[in-house]
Symmetry: C2
Subunit: 344 residues, 2 copies
Amino acid sequence: MSVSVREVAARAGVSVGTVSNVLNRRDAVRPATVERVERAIDELGYVPNDAARQLRAGQSTTIALVVLDIGNPFFTDVARGAEERAVESGYTLLLANSDDSVERESAHLDQFERQRVAGVLVVPTSSAQPRVSQLRAHGVPVVLVDRGTADATLASVAVDDVEGGRLAAEHLLSQGRRQLVFVGGPEDLPQVQDRSAGAHSAVGAVEGAGILHVPTAALTLDDGMSAGAEVRALVRAGRCDAVLAANDLLAIGVQQALLSGPDPVGIPREVALVGYDDISFAAAAVVPITSVRQPRRVMGATAVDLLLREAGLAPAAAREHVVFQPELVVRASSTVPAPPDAPA
Amino acid sequence: MSVSVREVAARAGVSVGTVSNVLNRRDAVRPATVERVERAIDELGYVPNDAARQLRAGQSTTIALVVLDIGNPFFTDVARGAEERAVESGYTLLLANSDDSVERESAHLDQFERQRVAGVLVVPTSSAQPRVSQLRAHGVPVVLVDRGTADATLASVAVDDVEGGRLAAEHLLSQGRRQLVFVGGPEDLPQVQDRSAGAHSAVGAVEGAGILHVPTAALTLDDGMSAGAEVRALVRAGRCDAVLAANDLLAIGVQQALLSGPDPVGIPREVALVGYDDISFAAAAVVPITSVRQPRRVMGATAVDLLLREAGLAPAAAREHVVFQPELVVRASSTVPAPPDAPA
DNA sequence: CTGAAAGCGCTAACAG
DNA sequence: CTGTTAGCGCTTTCAG
């Protein structure tokens, strides 16, 4: 089918070893020979076969990233950061989507292990732990992304979500809000648990403040719109004056549900709204949404760094756990009466 | 390093050929033997090496998809459709992002060719034609996505964007609008050209109607917000009563720019707004955006189908060119005085 | 500096 | 049914 080193060698009148040298160590070959070989390569349209190279090398030059939701801009930004750093380091990044399904995640991890990728970055589903630890045990470098872990032998890059939840709640409380509602789910997702826990701790510290939960099936825009209907009812019942959404997709959906229809709920007048992730759609919402920013691209890049450092480590050695601090970005959705950058 | 068939064979007390048979044609092996081999595989934690298998097979079981902007939900939806179909057919989908850069696109295509992927789906940058044709000439099955082509030897899946542009413009005209503005760019992107051309033809057919252009650097939310400022000026100058955006990201940005600030421009009262792609954010915008729907997932799935059919074709044979018809989804952003589903 | 030859792990004949 | 063996295309000693 396709042309191989042998044919290139024949055409250039050299041996296959020399062709290989031209490809991988051109400085060890006489210039005239290099040129002859390169002409042959061009004329024949030769393209090296990575499978063969990899078989020889024992390992590929590819890093895989498995995310929970390819449609969430948060993850695509993490992917961008990771890809950038991977390419800088001479690797290629493969992107895969688990859609929060353990089966799909598992299928992808199997595939990557068969491919002998250089390593795997994974934003794990809530029940991925065993499979991921197994991967690690098989000698595949792994870094958990957007998720801390109890397993010290797994490296991880995460944001302190408890702190993020606290920041968001404290901000709402400082604005005089006392009846918070946390919107998010599924409940077994650690990110959701942590953000909720942080919010609870902040609320617990303030006399007269309370927090309710409106669970959702997932962290999507549609789920946010459904939750918004419930929030509306709570607001109108006088039981909610602030919403803390587990991510921005949800927050955008909630905003949409609150503002639409014949009887819009005022944001922030009647209810303040805070999201999480600070994706660009949050700032671009009609009432710009206050959000907890995570350093998405940096997280991706850092994950790649940790992964490449894994190479030399013994499987049982303790790993690095990088935890970033979140940052609150205040916008109009949560400030009363006017946003800080537009004093009346 | 990792365990191979040979060790599995030794452990199970059989030959490597038998192990291979168990893996690939278990019905040709005695059940008792199968069981013994499988136990050995489990005990040893054996994972087949794809590189070796692929080297032998001459081709991989992977399909690659290169998109222009991984942050655009339109493309991630196409990817979902493609992945679904790929998996059904026993393939794996690799996702790569060119970010509209010819260099990055080219690097990805090189990489995929070296990997001997089963085929490549590509949403090409405007100047990708030569590289893509070369890929094809090297015998790699290729399908152009979201883009028709003059080259009959390249298969393609696209939507009739001229028709889509026309539909959008005709709708605006039917609502009594006469001063249209087309927002979009870069100008060399065929999708943008076609949509614009369709709009022009519709406008040309109506006495007293006109259309202006507000160019953008790319098709992102941020570009839309910048363009929105210009649109606002045109509206206030009495030179614009309708906007047709080249995609929804742009439309959302325009809406945001028009609605925000101390002096919001009424949508649809003062200016009607139509987007393109019908991504979920369009329907969820505060003024739900009328949009031209493309069958995103079906496009992805169809692209995979065409690709798999490529296998048997001679390089020079004519290819299939699937063209889908777009569909206008009318929402509140373009209908006056009230949306059709909410009669006063 | 260049050539010859050994294998990386696997599958697919072909014998037994 | 199972064992043996020849490569797939490439890199890498090791001699020349």
